[in-house]
Symmetry: C3
């Protein structure tokens, strides 16, 4: 299928500066782009790179001018470029083909919608439901009575345990486990007896879950990940946690049981959150912090244990000047001794 610059103008609803006739064959970053490619400039600091860029057309923000270049002005160059890439990828040969591979083991009473793509050795247990247009790569496991929405993308080796619910347009990367048992025991005389975990997990629409993530099912009730929340690799979400909408949970974060996280929250890499806390909407937790108290909406914290950002920075600055303070104290001690002698 032939695609011209004019087609990209239409796709991105942008304003063209230059000629729209040229055919576009690929998309690439400013550095890698060659003739026939479309590229984009989102961050002004890369303008020098854009001036040298070989791409035949560049998506730029409204205020940007690149004299001598063919550009398309749009509100959000990154977003517009993502749309263009999606267009190029949609017929990509690297996706699994539509249809159900003959080696997939699908229970008779599982409900499979139309237009799915189900790869080799996928296992779908009784009464599971797979929505329209969903793609499930090789080997993934869909447990009993679990519901997967439409237009989802499930990569290889994903475990969706029994009786959980996955929304629409959800992406789950390889090795992630959703619905494993929560970590709960009764300890009597020093021995730990397992508490059955009979709750569920609900993943709402447009969530993306990275590789090797673990999300435990609730003891009763449900563990929830809200609409549009994006979870990075190797994150751990314990039983009965609820995460709001449009959060960013960066790699290797751990969230303990029954903690409630609001919407638009950012937890940076390797953050740990204690159980039974409430993290307010829009809160931001800096990398490696250990959150041991609830955080009001909009607050930013850092450190282990986490403190308000400004206090944590001041404390760190003091710690780095500790040598100086100790010298000061010792000097003062001498001077006081001198004064006392007089």
């Amino acid at each position: 299928m032939r695609l011209t610059i004019a087609d990209i103008v239409q796709l991105t609803q942008g304003e063209l500066i230059g000629s729209g006739q040229m055919e576009i064959k690929g998309c690439a970053g400013l550095k890698e782009a060659k003739e026939g490619d479309v590229s984009f400039l989102a961050n002004p600091k890369y303008e020098p790179l854009a001036k040298e860029c070989k791409a035949s057309v560049i998506l730029v923000s409204q205020g940007t001018s690149l004299p001598g270049k063919t550009v398309i002005k749009v509100d959000h160059p990154s977003l517009a470029f993502a749309k263009v890439i999606d267009y190029f990828l949609k017929d990509s040969a690297t996706f699994i083909p539509p249809g159900i591979h003959p080696t997939a083991v699908i229970a008779k009473d599982a409900l499979i919608a139309k237009d799915v793509a189900i790869g080799p050795y996928v296992v779908i247990e009784p009464k599971a439901v797979i929505g329209e247009g969903t793609k499930i790569y090789a080997h993934s496991y869909i447990g009993h009575e679990t519901r997967v929405g439409s237009q989802c993308l499930i990569y290889p080796f994903v475990t969706l345990r029994e009786k959980i619910s996955i929304g629409n347009r959800v992406i789950v990367h390889s090795g992630s486990v959703i619905g494993s048992d929560g970590y709960g025991y009764v300890t009597v005389d020093g021995k730990h007896t397992k508490i059955p975990q009979i709750g569920t997990v609900i993943i709402e629409d447009d969530v993306e879950i990275g590789a090797n993530v673990t999300i435990d099912r609730a003891r009763f009730d449900k563990t929830i990940v809200g609409e549009g929340t994006k979870i990075d690799n190797l994150v751990h979400i314990a039983h009965n946690v609820s995460i709001g909408k449009h959060c960013l949970i960066i790699a290797q974060v751990g969230i303990s049981g029954s903690t409630h996280i609001g919407s638009h929250v950012i937890l940076a890499g390797q953050v740990g959150v204690v159980g039974h806390l409430t993290i307010g909407d829009g809160a931001i937790v800096a990398a490696q912090s250990g959150v041991s108290k609830s955080i009001p909406a909009g607050h930013q914290v850092f450190g282990s244990p986490a403190q308000p950002l400004r206090a944590a920075f001041r404390a760190n600055a003091h710690i780095q000047r500790f040598d100086h303070y100790v010298e000061l104290i010792q000097e003062l001690k001498k001077r006081v001794e001198e004064l006392e002698k007089k």
Copy 2:
């Protein structure tokens, strides 16, 4: 199968206050329970919830009274309730059915006991041994000469590498890898040559291992996880580590090579332990701590590097008052200068 309140009294060996005739159809938490359910009250702070609870019978501790409610008094309500849930779950349709799925690839000289349930695409290598009543979900991999005990539960995508040993009633959640090579190299002229890891891993009885855990095999000799120890998700246990009995190892903990951990130890979330240490029986390490020295039995530590709990708390309190101390020092300096002028 019909189950009455009287049956639950017998199952839990409790004392009934009220009538035993009603049929019980499900079990649920205090909040979620409806008529026909059994629920439980373990923590006195939920007593108001119990008074409002719709359940037809509630398991309570010996000292508790809930006037107007049908209750069963037991020593450990959580434990008794776990028993009841297990009873309800034992015929659950969400477990894989008994028998060996025709797609399982089982070596001719593997030894499979009776009453096992082996799911689709399970691979069992030569001379492996699977004990009676063990359930292995879809896809899991059992390596050469590896022994799995009886009544185990192995979820999808578990790797049990060659020549390791898993006890009885062990649960391993999806994505966990047991018996991967320890991380060992000889470095000569800046290049790292792999040291073969020819030891084993021994997982004793009643251990539970969460999702996406990694437990490396020993260089020689063995890595051990003791009886009744419970390991949460995404934990890393290096080669030649030994962990005692009835420990709790919370999510994302990492234990370096050759460290010995006693019994009844608790390592909270994201703790890291340096190699070649000894952690005494009953020691507790608070979340995110970095343990760089051995810990005597019964001690509690916190921080990175970890300190005795009380010292760590005091140090943290001082750090949070650092501004105040710096002001004090500066004020003293001025006052000393004033005195010196006189």
Copy 3:
């Protein structure tokens, strides 16, 4: 195949002290070795153990003498012993047999070299390339157009996503995911839209990757792991990261996007590195550190946020004496007050 002490002398190019005729049947550590075994002594502190050792021959360093023992003197006993173990293991029955298992699903236009071993239920997608002598265990997934070099060892449940490149003699342990999408979104009005990740991953020769590791593909361009670098379990490497040659990346480390790591760098366990930094050649980062600034070549850092090693140790020492300093300040305050009264 019969192997004598003299054969081991030849294999290790060492100098024999004693008789070379005895047959050797196994290899073991100093403690576990029995008659008929070969063992080794690398660390002088284990010399007492070596004197008691039952092995029939011990590999030792040039300066070591063990009177009454048959020894082979070599430059690097660990390295020499690794060679001997490899020799014993090469015909081990615990490796998967050569050939392609009939249940493997291999695309017609995938290119499979000779002498490979491909286990049950392996899936190899169109146009993938597998090099000579490479072993792929049960279930692993090789994506579209991905190239795997020769003599590689891929354990069960490995995901190599599409269009990535794996060098020669690379080892990937179970559950690792290479080429998952980088974590990149455009946020407009509080909603996160996925930025397609159309770059690749390049794993160079002689890299070893532990279990349940995640290495994301680049947005454009490539994520690289350099020759001879060894990555431990549960490590996260984000998109567009480059890691140099012969690095050691210990368990549970997380490296954020676009960070460049030099050669011969050591990142100890649970370290986190912020994005867009440069870590110089030979730098060492102590366990649990949080690196928020670039590190010059050869420097050592510790702490969260990470400081130069010596400064971090001094600051920690001060923190542990904080009680003492506070007492000093309060005492000085009193003495100044006394002086002021006079």
